[in-house]
Amino acid sequence: MSTTTPVAGVAHAVDARALGACAASAMAPGRITSVWVINKSGGLIYHRAFDAVDGRGETHAMRLDANATLRLASVWHSMHAIARKVSPTRGCVGIESVECDTFDLYCFQAETGTKIVMTTTKGTVDARGTLRRAHQAFYAYALQNPFYEMEMPVRCELFDAEIANVVRSVNERT
């Protein structure tokens, strides 16, 4: 994955010319617009939206009220579960990413059933690494915090700060 042969590089350049601006913008770094944590029964326990400025200076922001986020989280939880059930092959872990015209969604489900979901603007993102770091933050600052109740909404300032750090490290890439 990390090494590109010259031949592949040429092929890519041709592709990019053919697809024009669309492909060019897809090469720009993606920005995280929101982070969600969904517990094992489909309840939303953490949600935070971020204003993301893309390469062209446009601001992307997610505007959802609290009820909408709860509803969407539980819908996503069900979709994820259905995808696992209907998968024709064994060992399916559910939906890991959804690519849309205007944004991408990435999901990571831990062994415990807790899901970390993030949405990004179109572009390249190390989704696996970022979700992993977010999950580590959840483990460290929520689960190891004596005042956090399992499966309940996360209200820990250290977790907030760490998530902000993770998002900043992605959103401030050039």
């Binding site: 483990y139 460290a140 600052y141 190891q144 915090n145 004596p146 956090y148 209200r155 820990c156 300032e157």
Partner: protein, 194 residues
């Protein structure tokens, strides 16, 4: 088990080096359970801090005993205040919390301040608003109290947090304030020959 053989080897063999490394998450989870256990059994923040302090004292007494034997071989201990505090700051702290404490300062002769910028018991803890100024560092204060008391330096030990100053990104600092009893300070003066 050679221990039970009755040949008296237990007192002659040196104490093993002990395992000095434990996963920080394992420690954090056990500590988290300790806090939750006590929280369900107390009425207010003060009581919770006292409970943590007492738990820490037991740890301090034992850790000090073990470390004194490991470091000095014969179990020789400091009878002067400053070496004892330095021993606490470096050796004991490193063995109990995984890193040496950042600084040790003196205030007004009988008050000493030990501070740690990233104390293990506070690293993962976010205190909710309804618990006000609860500081889980009370556990560390208890550890220090246990050490000082068992070494013969009775003191009142309290823990408080302070926010890092501007430009310092280390986060919250946990401070352990030790106020020694009069007799300790007088003894120190006597030993100084003043």
């Amino acid at each position: 088990m050679r221990r039970g053989s009755g040949s008296g080897t237990t007192t002659r063999t040196t104490l093993g080096k002990g395992k000095s490394e434990v996963a920080s998450s394992a420690f954090a989870l056990v500590f988290s359970e300790l806090v939750q256990y006590h929280r369900a059994r107390v009425r207010d923040v003060g009581e919770l801090e006292r409970a943590l302090d007492e738990a820490g004292e037991m740890v301090g007494r034992r850790a000090f005993e073990a470390q004194a034997f490991r470091e000095r071989g014969s179990g020789k201990r400091d009878h002067r205040l400053l070496p004892l505090l330095q021993f606490t700051q470096s050796v004991v702290w490193k063995n109990v919390f995984g890193r040496a404490a950042d600084s040790l300062e003196v205030y007004d002769d009988d008050e000493y301040l030990l501070s740690d910028k990233d104390l293990l018991v506070n690293r993962f803890v976010s205190v909710p608003k309804d618990l006000g100024d609860l500081n889980c560092g009370s556990f560390a204060a208890g550890v220090v109290r246990g050490i000082l008391c068992s070494a013969g330096f009775p003191a009142k030990v309290t823990a408080y947090s302070s926010e890092a100053g501007p430009g310092d990104e280390s986060g919250r600092t946990t401070n352990i304030l030790m106020k020694f009893e009069k007799e300790v300070i007088e003894r120190e003066r006597r030993l100084d020959g003043k």
